[in-house]
Amino acid sequence: MNIVDALLQGILLGGQYALFAAGLSLMFGVMRLVNLAHGDIGVVAAYGALAVVNVFVVSPVFALVVVLPAAALVGYVVQRLLLQRTLAPSPLPSLLVTFGLSIIIQNVLLMTMSADQQRLSLGPLDTAAIRIGDALRIGVFPLGVFLLAAIVLLALSLFTSRTQYGRLIRAVSDDPSTAELSGVDPRRIYAVATAIAFALVAIAGVASGIQTSFSPTSGSLFLIFAFEAVIIGGLGSVWGTLAGGIILGVAQTVGAAFAPAQQVLVGHLVFLLFLAFLPNGLSRKKVRA
């Protein structure tokens, strides 16, 4: 029964990882840019939510109302002013700049916030659970996050496939100079994509902050988990990313059931297995360089 419980928890955890992965994957898909500060943005969002909760004495869910648009705005501005300059055939400039940003963010947090683990709380909902049968307990919050992730990913998928902006994002990621011939300003599209990516990781960061604790350096692990979910899931569809997140989540929780405290390592090893034998992940598209 332990395993089934672990399996369920892993699936639910996968939703959260998929949320982390979606933003990373979006930015790479549109701009061929891997944002090494991705996880740290999520942590900043969590701290932001904490600040809102402490100042306005509201639930973290309502804090999202403030944090989300703020994250999107920051993403837009960061892309237009900073990251746009790093877009080049070589990945070097963007990697160097985003890595530098990651270090700055983590250390600013270390300086201004306590280095202790922090936690966002939903009150009694934190530990509430639904019982199924005798031995299965599904946490209400993890279930909620999974459903939220599914809804957000669905919204993202519909956005890219049905709206004009979604079409433009796909067009620009195919061929930016030809898109310009039709009157599209690629820089604005990149900025919109970054805004969406930052918003996605903000949701993920706040959700993670409620489910587990976070600290100034948590961003590194968030980035790694997002990356692993993206690679396992393969490039291409939003649903591949969800599948990748689920596989990673399950690998971690089932691994923890067998070897407690090795949760993260098992996830890494499963990731490496995928990398070795299924380098394109679950999708049929090749990982573009």
Binding site: R170, T178, E180, L181, S182
Partner: protein, 235 residues
């Protein structure tokens, strides 16, 4: 006043000079054909007009205004739209989605999804197919349709006949009158000189980056000489 004017234009790729001292003009509703051998600079000329190539000297004027320093998408929004060489459709989008991208130029006009589908029934039939999965002729029609969706004031066509069967090329060019009837000016690059002569009001011949001949109602012999760079000795 001409709709589009190019004044003493030069263009470079890095340190390599591709065009020198080019001047031409196009009136509304007219067609100008740019011909020349491979490497003469025809595509470079179109790309310079549209803003994709560095222009160290010279000017591009649209409706009398200097647009030389505008970016490509700004020119598109003013109505200068190019159908690029090789079609360059967005391969992960469907045909209809490709057309809808053309709306980004935000220009009002006669061309919309319905009227474009009326002009190109074949494109209409394929509207939900992925753009990469069509024949050359269908792709070319789609690319032109996409450009029309931006309601161009000046439409630039770069080698639309490339790789297509003569019948297909003829059917594509048969649509030209409908395009011109809206007052759109057309500037086309064409390898096939007789095809170019058939559809154009004026011809501009390039040779190694410079103008070798320009004008209306030119004789084939003149054109051939200009194309290849012969200097005919009058007996």
């Amino acid at each position: 006043m001409p709709l589009l004017e190019v004044e003493d234009l030069s263009a470079t790729y890095g340190q390599v000079s591709a065009l020198r001292g080019i001047s031409l003009s196009v009136e509304a509703g007219e067609t100008l054909a740019v011909i020349g051998a491979n490497g003469a600079g025809k595509t470079t000329l179109l790309r310079a007009i549209v803003g994709q190539v560095a222009v160290p000297t010279g000017r591009v004027l649209f409706q009398g205004g200097d647009i030389t320093h505008l970016s490509t998408f700004e020119r598109a929004r003013r109505g200068i739209v190019m159908v690029p060489e090789g079609r360059r459709l967005f391969s992960s989008l469907t045909v209809e989605e490709n057309l809808k991208v053309g709306i980004s130029a935000r220009r009002p006009g006669a061309w919309n999804l319905k009227s474009v589908y009326d002009l190109f029934p074949l494109v209409s039939e394929r509207r939900h197919r992925r753009a990469g999965l069509m024949s050359g002729g269908e792709q070319q029609a789609t690319a032109i349709a996409r450009a029309l969706m931006s309601n161009p004031a000046v439409l630039l066509l770069d080698e639309v006949s490339l790789g297509l069967a003569p019948a297909v090329v003829a059917s594509i060019y048969s649509n030209l009158p409908a395009i011109l009837s809206n007052g759109t000016a057309v500037l086309l690059v064409e390898q096939d000189v007789s095809q170019a002569l058939r559809v154009s009001d004026e011809v501009h011949c390039l040779l190694q980056g410079r103008t070798s001949l320009a004008g209306r109602n030119l004789e084939m012999a003149q054109i051939t000489d200009a194309y290849f760079g012969y200097e005919r000795r009058t007996a």
